[in-house]
Symmetry: C2
């Protein structure tokens, strides 16, 4: 199997200003054509460091992909390092310059600055892959049998370069082994007990298969990867192994294909032809966002309301003022009435509601930070749950609760 | 200044299954006490690789922090590598075992599995920082003057370990230089033109200051970092340099303190005592989520609606059916009516609306994928904008549009 090494260049990531999402995207794309990322280096934008990292990277991988450090500003030194490492010079590439001019003119920028012109300078030995969504070109260099690609760092420039140009190129260039993967989602069982239960199964896996445990909230994702020459064979092999899991932990498995919980739900909603709506307080729109994150979600998601102010829970969702006075706004009773009001408003089969205190400040009704009630209403049947998550900060709280609500809904729909 | 190296261990990140958010969190926390992350290694869970990476890391940094590879399952080999690297042995730590037992009993798990007991085995030379939110302890090792900390990989276990235990420990252990940073948000000017305009200013920066360019959507964030012994002095120095920027690009600056656009908006809304509501179609709840992501957002955010199905735009937001028939649902006119209906529903000073086609499937009205109209309504004045972003995939589209809507609102509110 071919190995790739990624190098992320630039102080944005090291300083904690930006989360590195490029590596995740690239690793996934490479995985699909059977290339494994064996290491990622995240380094600062300094010529000596870039050069020594290129050296290490080529020792490990057949393929090196760098992102970042190619912008038009003073703090980008990647191109210089690239030329020095390959004992090359930088020169104006006419085709790239014409491409750049056309790109900028299309965007109404007639005057090309010296700084922009510099972006059309590339190492003379490089093969250029033109960037259709930005001004920094992608450069491929050859190091014996090995290859490097240097891309800019902006994610929406990286994605099309990888997907439309580099992946097709690599597919043709190498004759590659396939890697097939399946994700089995397991709920209601802690990781260590799960590991004990399936130990025998794991030890008996064929040699070309590897298992990883990926805990997400209260769900454990078992990732099973198989490597080989024949894609169809790998898929059969994976399916066989997954079937063997069912007698052991069948009642805990909620999905064997989709990875994301919102996609697992989408499949079930589509299959059962159910519609859904949301009424949120402490999750602030995250539930709606998850449910609409799939293309085609308009088939099942009718609408949602973020009733943040208490009076809007009364006005729009028809929660009774008496209930709020008696039980406070963060309560089982309010969650239940919210879900009912939501179902009436949007006329859906299913409605969800959340009310809680995301913190760090205490809620107006004095409930502890980290408390949340949520209701899952399917037709005329409601179930309300409580979570207490004081150890989570605000964004983690919102994300954990939203994932859990959808996970519980999946559980309920599967057992119907 | 002290240097840290982070090592992220485990196949989750390399395989593209998980985005590495721990590094971002740790880098930010270290930055606040004047420790700079100079490199991040992301490696697989193999003993030899862990050992050789520890070696490289100690050559570069004064401090090494590893995350991941400490779970109770078969694919975690970090502890073994740690012991081998430090020429140490692993033994049961009684205090850690008692802590683990108490932790599990509190969660209703009376029977301690062998696999769990193994988690209380640590290198004998290690100092243990107990994990209050999980079963894998954090181990500190000393390498001459240098230190390493090995943490589990689960983000909500990492955060409190770093924040409550490791940061206070490091602060006391080292006498540290401060790093102060400020972020200046610039809009309405491309990065290359901006760089030209402020070149003289940048070259005249004091030696202890560094500038980075961080483009986010159509905004450029200028990050100015100053290093030194006296925190107060650094802050004055930064303020002075920022003041010098105003005569050059003052009209393009929308904020000089907050980093995130939703926080910039929150400050303005609080200061001007304005309330806001949202009505979303293609952004599916992301706008509401951004506006509620700050603690204290209930002061200004009253509520939001995700009117995904066309008939809900009519029923709840009072968009006229005639308008939809005449102009289609993805149109300037519908965006405007949505914002009006939203303002009436929630009784707010400001209302926002979005209607568009996030793709990849075409919308029901046949508008091109990547088209979006959005309205910003402040009191009785509406402005509607159009964007065409066919190159963005679904999540990037949603995020770009939401950021841009808020950014434009900030622009409008500042110029009022």
């Amino acid at each position: 199997m071919k190995n790739a090494v990624l190098i992320t260049i630039g102080d944005e990531i090291l300083s904690g200003n930006t989360v590195d999402t490029n590596s995740n995207f690239i690793a996934n794309e490479l995985k699909n054509i059977g290339i494994k990322v064996s290491q990622i280096f995240t380094i600062s934008d300094e010529i000596d460091i870039i050069k020594s990292t290129l050296k290490s990277a080529f020792e490990i991988g057949d393929l090196v992909i760098t992102t970042g450090g190619l912008g038009p500003t003073r703090d980008d030194r990647t191109k210089k390092a690239l030329a020095e490492f390959f004992d090359d010079e930088i020169a104006l590439d006419k085709v790239t310059f014409e491409h750049l001019k056309a790109y900028m003119e299309k965007r109404g920028r007639i005057e090309i600055l010296e700084r922009n012109r510099e972006q059309a300078f590339v190492p003379t030995k490089s093969v250029v892959f033109q960037n259709h969504y930005g001004t920094a070109p992608c450069m491929m260099m050859q190091n014996g049998e090995k290859l490097s690609f240097s891309l800019p760092g902006v994610p929406y420039e990286v994605k099309p370069l990888i997907k439309d140009q580099i992946i097709p190129y690599l597919k043709e260039k190498f004759s590659l082994n396939y890697i097939s993967t399946r994700i089995v989602s397991v709920v209601g069982i802690p990781e260590s007990i799960l590991a004990d239960k399936i130990e025998e199964w794991e030890l008996a896996l064929p040699e070309n298969m590897a298992l990883s445990y990926l805990p997400v909230g209260t769900r454990v994702k078992l990732r099973l990867a198989a490597t080989g020459e024949n894609e169809q064979f790998l898929q059969i092999q994976l399916e066989n192994q997954i079937q063997k899991l069912f007698p052991i932990i069948g009642e805990n498995i909620i999905a064997t294909d989709e990875d994301k919980i919102e996609k697992i739900l989408a499949e079930i909603l589509n299959e059962k032809e159910l519609t859904i709506s949301t009424s949120e307080s402490c999750t602030g729109g995250e539930l709606a966002k998850l449910l609409t994150s799939n293309s085609g979600s308009s088939k099942y998601f009718i609408g949602g309301i973020v009733a943040y102010a208490t009076e809007k829970k009364v006005d729009i969702l028809n929660v009774s003022e008496g209930t709020i006075e008696r039980f406070t706004v963060v309560s089982e009773e309010v969650a239940r009435e919210m879900a009912e009001g939501c179902q009436n408003l949007f006329k859906t089969d299913i409605s969800l509601s959340t009310t809680g205190v995301a913190g760090p400040g205490k809620g107006e009704d004095g409930k502890d930070v980290g408390t949340v009630y949520y209701t899952i209403r399917v037709h005329s049947k409601s179930e309300t749950f409580k979570l207490y998550l004081p150890h989570l900060d605000r964004p983690d709280f919102v994300s954990f609760v939203s994932q859990k609500v959808i996970q519980d809904l999946v559980g309920i729909l599967i057992n119907k």
